[in-house]
């Protein structure tokens, strides 16, 4: 039985050795292997194994290790292509979208306390623009702006790092830093992207943000693009904040090897969606205790709160140097555009290269930088600045006193002294009137907006949100922005009109 197998093996070996000898240069290789054998078969096997591995590796096809990469066959691709239907470029509008489109007021001419409407031609009292100190119509600022326009032209021709920085920008940064009391400031040309850029410039994966869940959309997007771990605490609830900080401390103390992570508390001075003020003194206390840094978004409190308009730090008598980054806006109270970040020298200089909106956006026009500088100078002169602030606070108080006198129809979520007033229907009134969905609530609020526009000559607006992207969607509301230049009588009349309209709207449904 063995003989045929042995004979066959013998034959194949002889045949293969004849083939190998026929290859030119094979005797060199065979001689080399014979010499290198040196009575150590194990080593030779290892070396040959390594050579075979090298050859196999060289001949392997490349592939990607991607769990989400789906390979489709040709047939599947053809099927998918055949059944694809293009969607229309413009989706058909839903009812509420059509309503919003129709009912949005368009201003014909320039902005101001009494702008003229395109649809009706009437002048309405403007309670919708964030013109808190009335700088939009300030004649001195207008003159300065026209003069700047003649000197500098309109645009600034580039990003701040690439020929776009003018002396007026540097002056504005100095003015802001001097007014606020911090070491330095950096300006961005768009308010929304300021806070997102600042958060992304200092935080990345692995860092921890503890943020208030009433924060506005810009802060939410900023924390999202920074890719850090975000923990939310209940709106203005300091006990909840302490609980979150304590839980983070506990978690990180149990892991053996803790890398040095950056930890920040992010909150707003005056909340855009609620109108209430953050308790900065308690936050600073917690920050010192748990060793966090604080980013304070003062977009709606810079130039508004405090005796001289310096913001939340002035209200609570805290040195602004203790807050690591103060973000503010020139687009709200100062009638300019854009935002700023004020802090220490290192904080500001780091953003010159890492602030995405600073590096990759055009700088603001010279005209608007000068407007903001002038606005700050007016705030700094006590006679004019303090008077404007006092007027604004008095107007806000007047309006607020009227609307809080109807708690069955209006729920005011703003603090005393805030020029932003959010007016919402109380929940029990809504359920009594049979309104259950958000859309119905929005329709009802829109009725109020339309009615006061026609009957009482007021321009007010609902607060609008990107609903499918907000993490903590606030309830629908009417947002009133009080201006210092409105007459007290007008504000009082407006408040009475809004209150009457609210009461009528909610009781009509019962």
């Amino acid at each position: 039985m063995d003989n045929p197998i042995l004979a066959a093996v013998n034959q194949t070996l002889q045949a293969s050795s004849r083939v190998i000898e026929a290859i030119p240069g094979s005797d060199i290789v065979i001689n080399y292997i014979k010499n290198s054998y040196q009575n150590d078969p194990f080593r030779v096997v290892l070396e040959l194994g390594l050579a075979v591995f090298a050859v196999k590796y060289m001949l392997s096809k490349k592939y990607r290790i991607d769990p989400s990469h789906i390979k489709l066959t040709e047939k599947e691709i053809d099927e998918l292509v055949a059944e694809w239907q293009p969607e229309p470029l413009v989706q058909p509008l839903s009812d509420i979208q059509r309503m919003e489109l129709e009912k949005t007021q368009v201003i014909a001419g320039h902005q101001g306390p009494r702008p003229k409407m395109l649809s009706s031609g009437k002048n309405l009292l403007n309670l919708a623009s964030t013109n808190y100190l009335g700088y939009i119509n300030n004649e001195d600022i207008k003159e300065k702006a026209i003069e700047t326009l003649h000197n500098y032209g309109l645009g600034s021709c580039g990003p701040p790092g690439f020929y776009g920085t003018l002396d007026v920008h540097i002056n504005l940064e100095k003015d802001i830093a001097r007014f606020l009391g911090t070491e330095k400031a950096i300006i961005y040309s768009q308010n929304f992207s300021t806070i997102s850029s600042v958060i992304a410039a200092f935080l990345k994966r692995g860092d921890i943000i503890v943020a208030d869940d009433g924060c506005n959309f810009a802060i939410q997007k900023g924390t999202q693009i920074s890719r850090s771990n975000i923990k939310w605490f209940k709106h203005n609830d300091m006990a909840d904040l302490e609980r979150v900080l304590e839980s983070i401390k506990k978690e990180s103390s149990t892991s053996k090897k803790r890398p040095l992570t950056r930890r920040f508390i992010v909150t707003e001075g005056l909340f855009q969606n609620f109108g209430d003020i953050a308790p900065l003194d308690k936050i600073m206390e917690l920050k010192e205790k748990y060793k966090y840094r604080v980013i304070l978004d003062e977009c709606n409190s810079f130039g508004i709160l405090g005796k001289n308009g310096r913001g939340l730090t002035e209200v609570f008598n805290i040195s602004p140097k203790r807050v690591d980054m103060i973000i503010g806006s020139m687009a709200t109270a100062l009638s300019g555009t854009g935002g700023f970040c004020a802090g220490s020298k290192e904080v500001v200089e780091h953003q010159r290269l890492s602030g995405q909106a600073f590096v990759f956006s055009a700088s603001m026009p010279a005209m608007l930088a000068v407007c903001a500088s002038e606005a700050i100078k007016i705030l700094e002169t006590p006679e004019k600045g303090n008077k404007l602030l006092k007027d604004m606070v008095d107007n806000a108080a007047t309006f607020r006193n009227v609307v809080v006198s109807a708690p069955q129809a209006i729920e005011v979520s703003s603090d005393v002294g805030s020029p932003i007033l959010h007016l919402r229907f109380p929940k029990n009134a809504l359920s009594a009137a049979g309104i259950t969905t958000r859309d119905e609530e929005k329709y009802l609020l829109q009725e109020i907006v339309d009615e006061v526009a026609v009957k009482d000559g007021l321009l007010i607006t609902r607060a609008k949100y990107v609903e499918n992207q907000e993490l903590f969607l606030p309830r629908p509301s009417i947002r009133i922005s009080i201006s210092a230049t409105h007459a007290r009588k007008d504000v009082e009349k407006a408040a009475q009109a809004v209150k009457a309209s609210f009461v009528k709207a909610i009781s009509k449904r019962k």
Binding site: K62, R64, I65, S68, K204, R205, I225, R227, S252
Partner: protein, 170 residues
């Protein structure tokens, strides 16, 4: 408790961030100039070891292989992340080897970088006349280097070295 081998997990968002821009930390290894520099460096190492008096040619070959394998291991497999910040830490726990070509296995660069230690090993065993101790030392260094380059070891961390720290990166 430390596991023998655990995967360094990156999620979908992290891979999106990685592919949003070219990774300048790892794109230079694809350049043919870098390949040539690799060979020149080995040559330079051998010459340097040969110049030192008192080192036999066999020892210098062994030292070259050892130095090259240890050096390239540290560079490609021990150090993680990128030295500059550009994608919010998308490459934070990823070694240079894992960053090459965005994680695609068996690309030209990876084949080249796997072949070089093998060729160096075969050369050095030849020139040390197959002395057992030198062979053993060279083999261990080369095999460790090669195991780290296997596709099966992509983003695998042994004994929790360079693994993500729990609690801070959730």
């Amino acid at each position: 408790m430390t596991k023998l081998a655990s995967v360094y997990k990156t999620d979908y968002v992290q891979s999106l961030d990685q592919h949003s821009q070219t990774n300048l930390n790892s794109s230079w290894v694809n350049a043919k100039g870098a390949w040539m520099t690799n060979i020149i460096l080995i040559f330079f190492l051998k010459v340097m070891f040969g110049i030192i008096p008192g080192i036999t040619p066999e020892l210098s070959w062994t030292l070259t292989t050892l130095t090259y394998n240890i050096g390239s291991y540290i560079m490609f497999h021990a150090v993680t992340g990128v030295p500059f910040e550009f994608t919010q830490g998308a490459y934070d726990g990823i070694t240079l080897w894992e960053q090459i070509d965005g994680g695609v296995q068996f690309t030209a660069t990876r084949k080249y970088l796997t072949t070089v230690p093998i060729v160096l090993f075969l050369l050095s065993t030849h020139y040390t006349h197959y002395a057992p101790f030198a062979f053993f030392v060279n083999l261990v260094a080369t095999v460790i280097n090669l195991i780290a380059k296997l596709p099966a070891m992509h983003q695998v961390r042994l004994f929790d070295i360079n693994q993500k720290v729990e609690g801070s990166n959730e």
